[in-house]
Every structure is written in structure tokens, then in C-alpha cells.
Amino acid sequence: MINRECGNYKRTYQSDMAIFPVPLQRYTIIAIVLIFYLIFPLLANEYLLNLAGLIAIACLGAVGLNILTGFTGQISIGHAAFMMVGAYTAAILNTRYGVGFVLCLPAAGIMSALVGSFFGTPSLRIKGLYLAISTLAAQFILEWIVNHWKWVSGGAFSSIITKKPEIFGWIPAAALMEAESMMRYKYYIIVILLGMGVVFALNLFRSSVGRAFIAIRDNDVSAEIIGINIFRYKLTAFAISSFYAGVAGALYCFWYEVANYESFTIIISIDYLAMVIIGGLGSVLGAIFGAIFIGLLPIVLDIVGTWVGDTFFGGVNTEIIANFQVVTFGAMIIFFLIVEPEGLNKLWKNIKDYFRVWPFSY
């Protein structure tokens, strides 16, 4: 949050290299963790848990896409398709082969990583918009495969109903009794995985692999000249990003307890791209901001719009509110990008910088 760096001396290299070098920052993180891991799930009702769970899944997916698009500079419009691969892998393993939920997640991630790196191979020869088109093709090819390959889709309905997510056969007894506890249990699984994903992503960019990614993004020719194996690192970026997508897709499928390919269409891919762009390319926090923004804004607009309509205009036509929402949604995105082209993360940084010296700005 607000970082007061005064009197913050470092005595070892290690303390200087810490993820959160400033004490106040550490306390803030601890507070956020406490809120979202302990206080929020206990206080929230089913409605809020549902909202938070879905947004947390989107956060995980967006962090994954940001590794590819934000840090390595490879545009992907096939992210939802890689999520779909994860979702169907998990659903098929879970229902047909009796694999437990805990093993389904890494399996979904690995399968997705394999598919992702396969569709990432064109990135070795093409970049920028050309790569965007080739990942767009991945989206359509994967959708087509799931739609038409009966073994994958599970028949004409193209949807597979999964079992409840259990941890080596264990589900909290309360979760089986009551929908709200079930949601709380699933929420815990998701935020724990999200925490792991975020920490991994933060650390990734303090390692040589992460630095190689950034070098490729900044200039791939010079990266190659200084000895970075572009082939290897581009595919690694695709694999890591798709792994995130696969895990997120599997979580999504277990959240709904059904894998349905129509939840992973091209529009969702574009949504994810929008999340990382609005949140801020090349920052882990930005991806989270973006996911929250895209996930929450339509709902906030719906609630606010209905409330304004009911209170001030005596119940406005739902159709007008619906159209108003769409227009506002677009306008808000443009507004935020004009105010800060580098995304919500930069905006947040600016707010922090402002309060850092406030009220004595001189």
C-alpha cells in the first residue's frame, strides 16, 4: 500500500533481494492474505463467494497470460482454448478414469502446456500481429476438435458433468450438506492455488528464465545475440502460460462441475487479453487488477444501473439499462486507458506515489 522507505536499511544482499523489501509492504501483503484467506470467506455469503471464486479463477488465468503477453511479448488470442484443454482434460480424467481432483489439476496443466507449446511453435518465425492470428487459429482449431471429436466432448451435448472436487477422497462434511459451504471450500482451493501461482510468477521474474523472457520482449534480436536461446524460452513461455490456463480451466470446470466448450469461446480469449491490457502489461499485480476490473464492472454496473433506475426514475426499462451497461463498460475501458495507457497497475502506482510523500509533497 503506502510505502514509507525512510530508515529502511539493508545489511545483507538477501534482504535487498526480498520480494517485498519494505516492511510496510510486507504487512500489507499479510493483511491482504488475512482478509482474503480468513476474514472474507467466513463473512461472505454464497453470492459474494461465487463472485470472488470466479474472479480468482480469472486472476489465475490472467496472470498466466501476462507471463506470455506482458513479459515475453507474444500476443495470444487463444488463451480460452488452452483453458478449455485443461477443463476437458480434468473432466475426462475425473469422470472416465477416476483420477482424483488433486491429480487432475497438474494433469490439466501439463496437457495444456503441451498443447500450448505446440501452438506456440509458429512464434519462432512470426511475431506481433501475425502471431496473434496464428493463436487465433489455435482457438478455432481447439474449439472445433472439442465440438466434433466425440471421445473428447462426451457425445452430442459436448459437456461432461464432473464429480465434486475432493482432496484424496476427502470433502468437508458441511460442504456436502450445504451449497454455501461447498462454495467456501472451493473458494479456499482456488485462492490457495492463486496464491501459489502469484508467488511463482513473482519469483519467475527474479530468475534467469524470467529475465530471458523480458529480454525477448524488449528486443528478440539482441536477446539472441547475447546468447539467449529464443526457441527454448519462447516455448517455455508458452508452456508456463498455458499451464496456468490449464489449471484455471480445470478449476473453472470443477467450480461449475461441468465442462462445456461454449464457456471458452473466442470472446473469453479476448476478455483475457483485455484483462492484461487494462490491468497493465508486464506486471503480476496488473493482471489481477485487470481480472477484477473485467469481472466486477458489468455486475457493479448492473446493480448500480438498476438501483439508479429504481430510485430516480421509478423503474427504468431493463432493456435501456442493459444497453447503458454495455456502453458504460466500453466507455470505462477507454477512459481508464486514456487516463493511464500503462494500465490499472500504473494508476495504482501513481496513487501510491502520490500518498508516499503526502501531505508534504515538497
Binding site: Y47, N147, V258
Partner: protein, 422 residues
């Protein structure tokens, strides 16, 4: 000066966070009102979603004015626009659940799939008229889902039955039927039924998939008319694509009185988009009646006149508007029966029982003679066939259903396959 901007940004962030808190919790209603819910879409399929929603709203207003309460309990319809987005459909469902609804009408196939496990767990009966999964007609495996209108399976058998009648023979040997469908799970759903009927009646059958978004079908239509030389086209399209198919087939000289459309592509807006003269002769399957010649329609018209308002612009699209009336009316009827059978307080379980006792509920010809039972949640799979004469739809064949045994066979197969997998 520039820096104060960020101060206001900070305030804005806090304000945004705060709005969600009260918004999320201030949705509970007073206890006495019975809540029913409907999910709608105003964003994606704008030729269908808003029209159906208007039908629902108008019927509820009319019902409140003429009937008002069930045993003294007012009934309120809570609408939630999900914008054809799966996540928002689940969010809507949670909002509905928090408001304590006892019955729900869903909208859209992927959304219905996504909330089906929740509906079954929460025991809130939901109707999925004309979409969702056809095997949900089996009340034993899906106790709280009611397709409540002819599924695609029933539409398939009904269309073959109609072709038999026109051809004047039961054995359709030598008749070529083309199935032009939107290439998604819903489009593929009736194929099993068609295959069974093909074995039985010996017609030739070929499928022609139209990939999303379904506005480009020159190749398929050329295939149908020139290479395959189909005698009949059965079209299962929705949104913008039905009008494209009509225009393309017309251009290739296909006689449109041999074009039979499934329920989501055969209403006034679809023929208007293709051209009213052009579409002359096309046939469409309907699960509610078209036009305004029903007591309920006259009642709604009178209500508008008394209030001195003009009829809503969607009033003329009776295909979808009348469906909206039906979606609302069947829910109210189920709640009424639940009250009659079990008395207050009304719960989802009681309303489910209410649905299963619906019969003789035709609303003066708007609806078929449905009979819902604990096994059959489809109500019999009744359809009507209408023909477009250039100005309006004329009734071609009154309520009928066909080859239920084929549908039951398909249902048994699908249920078995699903069970084996799970």
C-alpha cells in the same frame, strides 16, 4: 494540479469497492411475496432475447392486474440480464437464489448447462423451453429441469412426420432430406433421432453444418441444391443465420415450401430479415401459437389501451413474444398448482410437484395440450406447423406429436451412455 488527480483516483477506487457491499446484500425481499425468476439476454441475440423478455414482463403485468395474487400471496417476477455470458448467468442465479425464488426460467444453452448442477442441488425447478439438453426431459435423472416445450428431438420427429404427410407416404424411400444446422452441440442434438428415423423410413439424409457465426452458407446451400439435390431442407439455425439460409436457398431456386425450420429461426423477424416476399412459403415449427388471437393477447392489448400506451415494438414479433408469455405463465401456473396441492409456504419442491400436475393449460389455444408427469418433463413434445404467406404466418398443421417411441429409445441410449461415463 496534476497530482490531485491521483487523490481523486484513490477516492474513486474506495467508492467502487463500497458500492458492491450494499448492492450485494440489499436484494432480499419481504417474505410474503412469492418470487419467481427469469434470466434474459439483451446483449447478444437481440432478435430473440429482448422480445421474449418483453413477453414475460407484459404477461406478469397483465396477470397482476387481472389475477394479482395466489391465495393472497403476491407473485413477483425477478428479471436478471446475463448478457449471454456464462459467468454472469451463474451470478444471476445466485442473485435469484438469494431473493428466494421458487421457480426459474433460464435462457441459452451453455448457461443452462452451467447452472444445471446448482439447480439440481438447490432444488429450484427451472424451465428450459426450446434449448438446454434434450435428455433433461427425463424427470428421473433431472428432477428439477423442465424442458417444458418440444425438445429438438421432438421437433425432429415432428418434421419427419410432416414430410411424410406432404409426400403422402410413410415409406420415404428416394426422398432426400438435408439437415442444415448451426455447428454447435444444440445443432448436433437431434442427429441421433434423425438416424433412427432414417433406418425406419428409408429416406436419404445428409447433414450440412454451418460454422459460427453462421452468416456465411453459400457453400452449404450450393451443396444442398446442386450436388445433393435435396427434396427437403430441415434447418436448425438461430440468430442471423435463418434469414441468410432463406435468402441463399431462394437465390439457388430451392422451393421454400420444402424448407422446414426449427423453433429458433422461424418467426416474423427472421422472415422480415430475409425479405417478406422472398420467404413466401417457408414452413416453421412452433411450440406456442403465433398471432394475437388468444384471450391473453387480447387482455394485454386491452391493458395497454387502458393505460393509454402504444403497443410495445416487439408486440408484432409474436413468435418470440408469445413464448415469453408462455414462459411466465407456466411458472405462475406451477406455483398456483403448488399452492393448491400443498399450501403455503411455497418451496421449490412443491413447485416441482406443481409442474408435474400441469394439464389442460392451453391458454385459449396459445399452448398445446401439455401433460407433464414425473417421468416426462417435456409435456408430450407438441408442435404446430406454420407457413409464411408473404404477409403473415398461417396455421398449416395443428398440435401434434410424433414417434414418441423413437425419442424414448434415443433417451434410453443417451442416458445409458452418460451413466457409463460418469
Amino acid at each position: 494540479m496534476r497530482k490531485t488527480k491521483y487523490f481523486w483516483m484513490g477516492i474513486l477506487v474506495i467508492a467502487l469497492v463500497m458500492t458492491l457491499g450494499p448492492g450485494g446484500t440489499a436484494l432480499a425481499e419481504e417474505k410474503k411475496t412469492i418470487m419467481i425468476g427469469c434470466q434474459t439476454d439483451y446483449d447478444r441475440l437481440i432478435t430473440i432475447g429482448p422480445v421474449v423478455a418483453q413477453g414475460i414482463k407484459d404477461y406478469m403485468a397483465y396477470w397482476k392486474k387481472t389475477v394479482g395474487t395466489i391465495n393472497g400471496y403476491p407473485v413477483e417476477m425477478m428479471e436478471c440480464n446475463h448478457g449471454y455470458d456464462v459467468n454472469r448467468a451463474l451470478e444471476c442465479y445466485q442473485r435469484h437464489k438469494m431473493a428466494g425464488i421458487v421457480s426459474l426460467s433460464t435462457y441459452g444453452t451453455p448457461h443452462t448447462y452451467a447452472i444445471t448442477p446448482k439447480i439440481l442441488a438447490d432444488k429450484i425447478p427451472a424451465i428450459t423451453p426450446g434449448f438446454g439438453r434434450a435428455d433433461a426431459m427425463d424427470g428421473k435423472s433431472f428432477p428439477y429441469i423442465f424442458p417444458a416445450a418440444a425438445t429438438y428431438w421432438s421437433q425432429a420427429t415432428a418434421s419427419i412426420k410432416y414430410i411424410q404427410e406432404v409426400e403422402g407416404k410413410e415409406n420415404l424411400k428416394g426422398v432426400k432430406i438435408a439437415y442444415l444446422y448451426y455447428d454447435n452441440p444444440a445443432g448436433k442434438e437431434p442427429m441421433g433421432v434423425f438416424e433412427k428415423l432414417k433406418k425406419r423410413f428409408g429416406f436419404e439424409f445428409r447433414t450440412f453444418g454451418v460454422p459460427s457465426p453462421g452468416v456465411e452458407m453459400g457453400a452449404q446451400v450450393t451443396d444442398i441444391t446442386r450436388r445433393y439435390k435435396a427434396n427437403w431442407v430441415i434447418a436448425h439455425l438461430f440468430g442471423r443465420s435463418p434469414s441468410v439460409s432463406l435468402a441463399e436457398l431462394y437465390r439457388k431456386g430451392f422451393p421454400l415450401d420444402h424448407y422446414l425450420g426449427f423453433v429458433w429461426g422461424v418467426c416474423e423477424t427472421d422472415v422480415a430479415a430475409a425479405g417478406e416476399d422472398l420467404s413466401k412459403g417457408m414452413l416453421g415449427i412452433q411450440y406456442t401459437g403465433l398471432g394475437h388471437d388468444y384471450d391473453v393477447s387480447r387482455g394485454i392489448k386491452k391493458m395497454y389501451e387502458e393505460e393509454g400506451k402504444e403497443m410495445h415494438k416487439y408486440w408484432t414479433t409474436t413468435g418470440y413474444y408469445n413464448r415469453g408469455i408462455y414462459w411466465a405463465a407456466v411458472q405462475v401456473e406451477a406455483v398456483r398448482l403448488a399452492m393448491e396441492l400443498h399450501g403455503p409456504p411455497i418451496t421449490g419442491e412443491k413447485v416441482k410437484d406443481g409442474y408435474e400436475h400441469i394439464k389442460d393449460f392451453t391458454m385459449g389455444g396459445l399452448l398445446p395440450p401439455f401433460i407433464f408427469t414425473p417421468e416426462d418433463h417435456e409435456g408430450g413434445g407438441w408442435v404446430r406447423i406454420y407457413q409464411w404467406d408473404g404477409k403473415q404466418f398461417g396455421l398449416k398443421k395443428d398440435w401434434y406429436n410424433a414417434y414418441r417411441e423413437v425419442i424414448m429409445e434415443e433417451l434410453a441410449e443417451v442416458t445409458k451412455a452418460t451413466e457409463k461415463k460418469e
